[in-house]
Symmetry: C2
Subunit: 349 residues, 2 copies
DNA sequence: CTTTTCAATGTGTCCGCACACAAAGGTAGA
DNA sequence: TCTACCTTTGTGTGCGGACACATTGAAAAG
């Protein structure tokens, strides 16, 4: 509604030239105390907001171009990290007006060695900023130290790492996810049945940090809750093996009172497929994220609900905020975010 | 990544001047077939995308300013239409770089007369575009006819009206909302209890279209569903009267097997307050939208879940898309949207 | 053949900002 | 006093697009 304050107006009001105002706003020095005070006085009276459009246009003229390095786990199409990537891509496309160069550096989410190697390359490559998928805490911390030294800004997607200094973090609260999973399982299954919570079994890797947080919150919910439900913890194999199905089979046979199965990772569709292959009906299954496999199962009715972390949105915001930071410097309040969590049933898929 | 194609480049490739290219892109006539063909040829080869930043900047120079009329129901702070308004406001703020003037025209959502009068004023006022909250179908249709005649574009928020020609519609699917409500009530209540669905009782007004759609979908769900649950339909008063509570009291007494109450409008907190005032516990209550009252009840544990239509998002997108349309003419694919529906529990509020 | 007319096309200016560069003011050493 | 040098300040240019306006060219009218 109101006319936006422009640099020129500030200059006029403060009795200096636009160049000086520009220097103050970007605090790139060489300004006398007097000029600074005069400009500050104006800024205190009226609030100034960058015009992102003109900023972006002027940025082009500088000929500079931003170089982003994006290092996240590789992933099959439609799986979790591919959804993150699609959000990143969407943002990069949307902000294509600004000239941005970017490179993906994928690592194996189950191999800390792979992560280490890739991060090594990232650390030694020159760039404007880095976007990191936080899977391996130690490796990430190490990389961040080196980036800090070089003064290269970075943002996290899907997790945070204590002791680092990212300019942004985009994640959901895993404890909330776990409690929500628990609450829904508790509510959606008959009170006289048991509830199973299934964890991925992987050879030679420990559980991911996110899964562990979810599991803990899941346990906590029932520990605090007076419902007295019995929780059975079990494992399933994420690999495509016949063993996986039979393992689940025997789990269900030894726990015949199971009324619901909660899966703490995004591979819930594997469990759902095994359960329906076993001909078991009436078991409520809940999992995480609208991956292709999960979406298929929800449509087929074999998965009852999903807790969606909006991986694509996380990716999108990461790029958006980072660009904002790089162009306007101001580390704005949107940079550290716990994003909202959605619950998805067949109807609102 | 790749360099964006500019008007200047197109002009060069087609062997014409930027002015001609500009005329073609905005199809504002006066272009020879030859020039048109040449430019088309270039556009077929490489795809051109407006640079929104420079577009916006150039728009300023024209000195034109957009005039938006926004006519939606008035609402208490924190209630449904106030949430819509906050989304509209947010978008108007975010796009403040472009010089936009806007005026709100509120009407009483329970009075078709009020709506008629306000729409009358809207119809006769000059403006660039109109945003309408579709509450009264007939009145809206009439207004749209007059806007169509004048060539004034308009978008709808929260509903559609057959026989009109909006450039955009931002709503959620009410049938999906109703089914989701039914599915959640069915799943979250013990199978041996009855389910109540409560409708607002208002003096002298009929049920809103949205409520009716939700109710129908709710009924359909249980009609198709083999669960054999008993559904009790009842009324509650939206006014702040002691009668409201006692009415609900007697409803609950005459239906002692009620295990869950579904409220098809966003005033669920009134029901929840009455139920807890009556000292009734263990009844699952589900409602619509994160209004202030509903949020309070979810936090207090008196409402179990909400189906959130994201009214703020609807408002935001309405403004955003409309501006896109006004500035670039292209009625893009984002203009007709069924927005996603969220489910909200205490944990992910 | 000249003048008028008008569609088709080209040119120039500005939007607000970023930054390079030029200019001005001040201080110190010769 | 003058030059050298540094700090502070001002000016000019261009980013890509939008549109007013000037220009061209060819057909129609005189």
């Amino acid at each position: 509604m109101e006319q936006q304050l422009t640099i020129k107006q500030i200059a006029q009001l403060a009795g200096v030239s636009v160049g000086t105002v520009d220097r103050v706003l970007h605090n790139r020095g060489k300004v006398s105390d007097k000029a600074l005070a005069a400009i500050q006085a104006v800024l205190d009276t009226q609030s100034y907001k960058y015009n992102i459009h003109t900023s972006a246009v002027a940025f082009k003229k500088t000929g500079k171009s931003l170089h982003l390095l994006i290092s996240i786990p590789s992933s099959e199409k439609g799986e979790y990290w591919d959804l993150v990537k699609s959000g990143l891509d969407r943002a990069l496309r949307e902000y294509g007006d600004i000239s941005i160069n970017y490179e993906y550096r994928f690592f194996d989410q189950f191999s800390s060695l792979s992560c280490h190697e890739v991060f090594e390359a990232v650390a030694s490559q020159s760039c404007s900023a880095v976007i990191l998928g936080t899977t391996f805490i130690e490796e990430t911390r190490e990389l961040c130290c080196r980036l800090d030294e070089r003064g290269v800004p970075y943002v996290f997607v899907d997790g945070s790492v204590p002791g680092t200094h990212p300019v942004g973090t985009f994640m959901v609260d895993q404890s909330v996810c776990g409690r929500l999973l628990a609450r829904l399982m508790d509510g959606l299954t008959p009170a006289d049945t048991d509830i199973a919570v299934l964890l991925p079994r992987r050879i030679g890797t420990q559980m991911s940090n996110n899964s562990a947080l979810r599991l803990q919150a899941f346990r906590d919910f029932f520990a605090e809750n007076r419902s007295g439900r019995v929780i059975q913890e079990g494992f399933f194999s994420v690999a495509n093996s016949p063993d996986g199905a039979s393992e689940l089979d025997s789990f269900l046979e030894s726990n015949p009172r199971i009324g619901g199965i909660a899966v703490v990772i995004s591979a819930g569709y594997r469990v759902a497929d095994a359960v329906s292959a076993a001909g078991r009906k009436g078991i409520v299954i809940g999992g995480f994220d609208i991956t292709e496999g999960n979406a298929r199962c929800v449509r087929a009715g074999t998965i009852d609900f999903l807790i969606n972390q909006h991986p694509d949105r996380q990716g999108f915001y990461a790029v958006e905020s980072l660009l904002h930071y790089l162009l306007y410097g101001a580390p704005d309040k949107n940079m550290r975010q716990l994003l909202p969590i959605d619950i998805v049933f067949l109807e609102n898929l």
